[in-house]
Symmetry: C2
Subunit: 134 residues, 2 copies
Amino acid sequence: MKRNSRLSLALHTLSHMAGSPDRLRTSSDIAEHAGTNPVVVRRVLGKLREAGLLTSEKGHAGGWRLARKPQDITLADVYLALDERMVATDETKETPTCSVEHALHERVSGVLEEIEESLVRRLAETSIAEVRGA
Amino acid sequence: MKRNSRLSLALHTLSHMAGSPDRLRTSSDIAEHAGTNPVVVRRVLGKLREAGLLTSEKGHAGGWRLARKPQDITLADVYLALDERMVATDETKETPTCSVEHALHERVSGVLEEIEESLVRRLAETSIAEVRGA
DNA sequence: ACCAATGCAACCGTAAAAGTTACGAATGGC
DNA sequence: GCCATTCGTAACTTTTACGGTTGCATTGGT
């Protein structure tokens, strides 16, 4: 795959599952559809399970299922479940020389943080059901 | 550096230059401030020059200067100048098996494209002057 | 002529992520 | 109880993006 593949894979898979929410799917099936392999699928979907968007069952008739109705899963849920932070800079070790520089740096970081938040708000406006349906 | 460093470097540099817009700065000076090296600075600032946000002069007393007033440079200008596409997936070679899959894929891409556009609109609401000033 | 600066191309090093293999644990069918 | 199936996870390899580095041509002021 390529860039942004986790979010893309997650969205694609969830949208697909939204088509028949009761059906149980294996990571192999999903990997087939997504053109990748089962382990990668399990890695990504594992994050979604941690966030309560999916459930998984082991064993013979195991697989994955939506934990909520498609209209109750927003893109923000997915984005946050994957720990994505596309805009904001996770800076924890910045040590600019003078305090003026430091202040400016804080400004830039703060602005990017605001942009990140508005991105999440925008993502929260769309549900998986909407992706599929219209 | 780390992730998102191009945008971060560009924003930081422009905000800094906005402090005294008439002053000419060398890529060495800028690199010093940003904790990186001159070539990287020229690479990033070169994109901003192509987009008309900065001017550069070669030769002995050469360097970089803002091409516009800080209040006339928005974060969207910078983002687009750097060819960043943080949300949208640049897919040009997708060949899902069946047409149903294909349609769904288009849907997901389309939604991400919309999100990308709203991100740019959000970025356009803030100018470099605002980053610095408040 | 000299020096200081950009412009640019070619390379190296590294870090993040996908891909792969392997194996253990759980679960249901027989 | 046995066995196939599936998830869970760890370890490793491969790929890729990008910052960093070096070198050199070009430009322009002194």
